[in-house]
């Protein structure tokens, strides 16, 4: 009798643990499939023309995404310029100055903002920037990307500032400097690695965002014409070309995906490397 119970428990153990292993393996294999396939098809479609020439009209073979790559670069900078001050200062406020209740409220607001679907943020940016200006524009896309970026920067900045030991704050004050000098001169440098990794993660996130760009940046056939005009972006062009019936454009979508993956995963791996190095 007890023999059978033991046997059953033993086998249940093996089966369940085996299933867990299979689950982990299939998750990893899934990633390998997606990554491997995209990289393989992307590198096949990649050529120098893709990087240095502008998009050709529909039906013509050739052309590239030079303007869209440049556009993504501009949009990321726009978003960062708008979001980093807000996120960093909010992080400083929550970590250094806020009383616990207000800190919890701001933290909660940031978490909720981070969970809002990016398409809703795009609709919001359309309503507050595109509608009043009567034009799709780079700046409206920058606003949308900044709204996505702010909570990430704020939360990571706050968390890394809190890791700075209190003795540093006390030591700084003991030198007789004011608190804002202590924050800027002592505490922020102490948390700089964490703050930078947060910013880089946020950049990686917004560089691949597509949904909020559809009706803010819109895309442009004429390259980059300034911040008040529509602008192309790499993920947006991948989306348009992926749905195109022309094989040449589909190929370019794969090449674009290859470039975007390199960019995004490159940043993520760099971040991982930096934050691992800190622990050693």
């Amino acid at each position: 009798m007890s023999e059978r119970v033991y046997l059953r428990r033993k086998w249940l153990n093996r089966i369940m643990l085996g299933l867990c292993g299979i689950a982990a393996a299939s998750a990893i294999i899934m990633l390998a499939l997606i990554l491997g396939y995209t990289l393989a098809r992307g590198i096949g479609a990649m050529n120098i023309n893709f990087l240095i020439s502008a998009a050709k009209p529909v039906g013509e073979v050739g052309g590239g995404m030079r303007n869209e790559i440049f556009g993504t670069f501009i949009l990321v900078i726009l978003g960062s310029v708008l979001a980093i001050p807000v996120g960093l200062m909010a992080g400083i406020f929550v970590s250094e100055f806020a009383n616990p209740k207000v800190a919890t409220a701001v933290r909660f607001a940031a978490d909720i903002l981070a969970g809002i679907p990016s398409i809703v943020v795009g609709v919001f940016a359309y309503a507050i920037v595109v509608q009043p200006m009567h034009s799709y524009s780079a700046i409206s896309a920058g606003v949308a990307l900044a709204i996505i970026m702010v909570p990430i920067v704020a939360r990571t900045a706050e968390e890394s500032l809190r890791l700075v030991p209190n003795s540093m704050r006390e030591a700084a004050l003991a030198l007789g400097i004011t608190r804002w000098r202590a924050v800027v001169g002592v505490i922020i440098p102490g948390a700089l690695t964490g703050i930078m990794t947060g910013i880089m993660l946020a950049v990686a996130r917004i560089a691949g965002e597509t949904a909020p760009l559809i009706f803010t940046a819109l895309g442009s056939q004429f390259g980059v014409q300034g911040l008040l005009k529509p602008i192309g972006a790499l993920p947006l062009q991948i989306y348009h070309y992926a749905l195109s019936p022309y094989r040449d454009q589909q190929q370019q979508a794969w090449a674009g995906a290859f470039l975007l993956i390199l960019l995004v995963l490159g940043i993520s791996i760099l971040v991982r490397w930096i934050s691992n190095r800190k622990h050693i």
């Binding site: 643990l17 899934m30 390998a32 909010a90 406020f93 929550v94 250094e96 607001a109 969970g115 992926a242």
Partner: protein, 329 residues
């Protein structure tokens, strides 16, 4: 020697005396600095509030015209200017449900593997690989879905289920490839890393004594996991799943590319459909009339409302878990 309890009144007053939070500086420059950080922090709260207000104001033409019937109506007719949200809401819920149904067992299994079973040298790299999956932009997952997953769903999966189980309404209709099933699988791939990472953190927070006690009683490893690890981090696991749900509900690009974008309600998983997010993504730049734009704004407002509720629940659960962990340490 008597230890000061971390949460006791003595520790609190000690912390208050030492923290500059409670002793604001009277220095002029300090006041300017701390107040300007306050202003920037309020921008975050302000964005959140203005999001609701702006969407509501812009949705007014549709709200005034349709009222509550907007939610129950299933037509989307730009010519007659009659709009309803029902198929989009249905598609959003159905595709997310399929996604979670696939993703939850896989990610819980993967998390258990990462925390309890994997050899130490494997844990770091395996976690890293799964987190990389979360970093891939959704448009790329969509591209992969469109060219690799959709044909695969059409040929072996849908034709097999259609021929074997075609008598069930779930598996009826022609195998298009694009549709709710493909969208659900894509969503599963996209929320898997999030749920895995969050539930891995939750399981890691369970103190080792719990495990050792269970093993000392003679349990097998699975019994240890089942009876001491999982119950101890239940709210964290539920929080992780709900957070994944929030992500799935609002996911746009990948879903738009594989769901087929027809505005229908169907009992078949093979049927093409729409989600709220895909409807907005597809129609927004074509919207001309005030009521049309208003209807899309109202869709955005509904999506915002759903994800808000879901995210608040997830955050509260996850925070409660860290609070419990804090008192145990």
């Amino acid at each position: 020697m008597r230890l000061i309890n971390d949460n006791g009144p003595e520790a609190k007053s000690l912390m208050k005396a030492r923290s500059w939070r409670y002793n604001p500086s009277t220095h002029f420059a300090d006041k300017i600095f701390s107040n300007s950080t306050l202003i920037f922090a309020m921008i975050i709260v302000g964005i959140l509030l203005s999001l609701v207000i702006v969407l509501a104001i812009n949705a007014m033409p549709a709200i005034n015209k349709f009222g509550f019937s907007f939610i129950g109506n299933s037509s989307w007719d730009a010519v007659r200017s009659v709009f309803g949200a029902l198929p989009a809401i249905f598609g959003t819920l159905l595709s997310s449900a399929i996604g979670l149904l696939i993703a939850v067992p896989l990610s819980l299994g993967a998390a258990i593997f990462l925390v309890e079973l994997a050899p130490l040298w494997l844990r770091g790299p395996a976690s890293f690989v799964i987190e990389m999956l979360a970093a891939i932009p959704s448009v790329i997952i969509g591209l992969w879905g469109l060219f690799v997953l959709v044909p695969f769903v059409r040929k072996p999966i849908e034709s097999w289920f259609g021929s074997k189980l075609g008598f069930l309404p779930l598996f009826q209709g022609p195998p298009f490839g694009v549709g709710f099933l493909a969208a659900g699988i894509i969503l599963a791939i996209m929320v898997l890393p999030i749920i895995t990472a969050m539930s891995r953190d939750a399981m890691r927070a369970v103190p080792d004594q719990q495990r050792e006690a269970m093993l000392a009683l003679g349990s097998t490893r699975w019994e240890m996991i089942r009876q001491s690890v999982l119950p101890n981090c239940r709210s964290g696991l539920v929080g992780a799943v709900i957070l994944g749900l929030g992500r799935a509900l609002g996911e746009t690009m990948a879903v738009t590319m594989v769901i087929g974008n027809s505005y229908t309600i169907s009992s078949s998983l093979f049927s093409p459909g729409s989600t709220i997010a895909s409807k907005i993504a597809n129609e927004f730049s074509e919207a001309s009339s005030g009521v049309f734009v208003g209807s899309l704004m109202e869709l955005a407002l509904i999506l915002f409302g759903i994800t808000l509720v879901v995210n608040v629940i997830a955050r509260v659960l996850l925070w409660r878990m860290t609070a419990v962990k804090g008192t145990m340490e």
